[in-house]
């Protein structure tokens, strides 16, 4: 087995393991995201005010802030 073979095995393992781990994290998030999004709940309004527009101070969707200021 030469160096190119090793790189290929390493890449294959890294890609497969990453994909499975990311999918596991996605499944963890999926239920809470769908519940919040589809039913108007807002668990993290402080971090993401636009998720439900729950906070009166939050800018409404579609209103950008000037990034250069």
């Amino acid at each position: 087995m030469n160096a190119w073979d090793l790189v290929t095995w390493f890449s294959a393992c890294a890609l497969a393991v990453s994909a499975v781990l990311i999918f596991a994290f996605f499944l963890r998030d999926a239920r809470s995201i769908l519940d919040r999004e589809m039913h108007g709940h807002d668990d993290d309004a402080a971090e993401n005010p636009s998720a439900s527009g729950a906070t009166p101070e939050s800018p409404p969707p579609g209103r950008p802030e000037d990034p250069s200021r």
Binding site: W4, D5, A12, L15, I22, D29, A51, P60, P61, R69
Partner: protein
Amino acid sequence: MNVHVSPIDLGVVGVYLLMMLGIGYYIFQKVPSFEEFLLAGRTMTTPILICTLASTYYGLDVLFGTSELAYNDGVVAFFGYSELSLGIYLFAAYALSTRLRAARFTSLPEILERHYGRGAGIMGAVASILYSIPALSLFAIGRLAEVTLGIDAPVGAMLLGGVALLYTLWGGLWAVAITDTVQFILMCVTLAIAIPILLVDLGGFDAVTLVAPEGYFAPLGGIPIWLMIAYAATGISILVDPGYYQRIFAASSPKQARNAMLISCGIWMAYDWLVTAGGMLARAGVASGLIPADIHPNDALLMAVTMALPVGLTGIFLAGVLATAMSTVDSYTLVSGSNFAYDLYRPLRKPHASDSDLVRLTKYGIFISFALGFAMAFLFERLLSLWVFMATLLTSTVLVPIFVALYWKGRKTQAAGLTSCIVGLVTVIIYYVGIPQLGVANEVYGTYIWTFSIGGTSISLWQEYALFFTLPLSFIGFLIGNRFGSPVPAPERPEPPA
């Protein structure tokens, strides 16, 4: 040349397609507002962002284009073509993702509209629509259907691309992102299984060494340095890629956007290497008789993998390949659909368009984009060149004004943004029309080269060098335009959809 596919493998592909439709229909029953349809309510977390970023930005052009380069030229496909763009992706992760997300825009042309007025916004929207038309992906889906299923390419593109169209129309970005997640898993896992099997079957890279031409393992090959820089510069397009922007806007926080982009960079690296390895191993496959000698290099990876994998896994691999193309079709039809509705119709015809109006018009736009892509896919012969032109056009038109808007705190006028867009657009068209007229076609690289002398020094201008001229000229246009008109104090803020 067709690939043999067993009925079991066809069944696996059928299950995959039904699953995509099922996800789209499930979301269809749930998504009510424009922001949820277009930006998934800005609630996307890191895992789903990784899946949708990685699967959208890597289409069949990477899978088959990179493997073809590897088959022909060796490891330069990885080191020379793919990974030089990595620095640009890392910049996008660290410097751009967080800034874009914090600014809370809705679309790429909206950045221009807010900073430089309606004219610049509309130019950005038109460039974004042209870039996002899924002609190349639909052509690839059709070609895949022809090679694997034995049906005519246009029929295959209509049927299989139609599945992506349907779930995008039903569920917007939620449907796109969740199907992208399934597609991402299929893309990665099937490639990660297939290439090691191919490696073992063919006797590893030692077998490649026996049949490799000179320079096959040289990281930078024998490609001219300016051409390599030009290829790497095509990675700049991610800095203005509307699909990338849409995902960053949809992130639930700037930190999630940055983390997703960083992790995606690692995944792209591993994916690039496996595709490169697959192309190189296919060459050994030809020498060993596993693959027919008259194979087109573009089909070599697909042929090698389907011959190496057992029944069942081949079906999963084909579903993964199909997923690679569908994730690009769904994402870019959604982007261009929203450009039609939010960035053209709204500012030009109905500034206070309601939420339901925007969702309805976005769906019309998605359908129009798909129809245009389908027509172009089977009308134009040099689709890859056409796509490279569209990408260069978008980058030349919007990169300078957008980056000044995001990073420059000083004086900015509407004239500056508009002039920069116009100069970028006009110069790229002049360059692309002019070089074929002045130069000659080069069959080896599939491009046009104009060679001339200045003071006894011979200079060769390739068509791929367009950005070296258009971006500086667009910046000069900005500086000239910035001398006219009054500074824009802050982005105008129209009322959000009712």
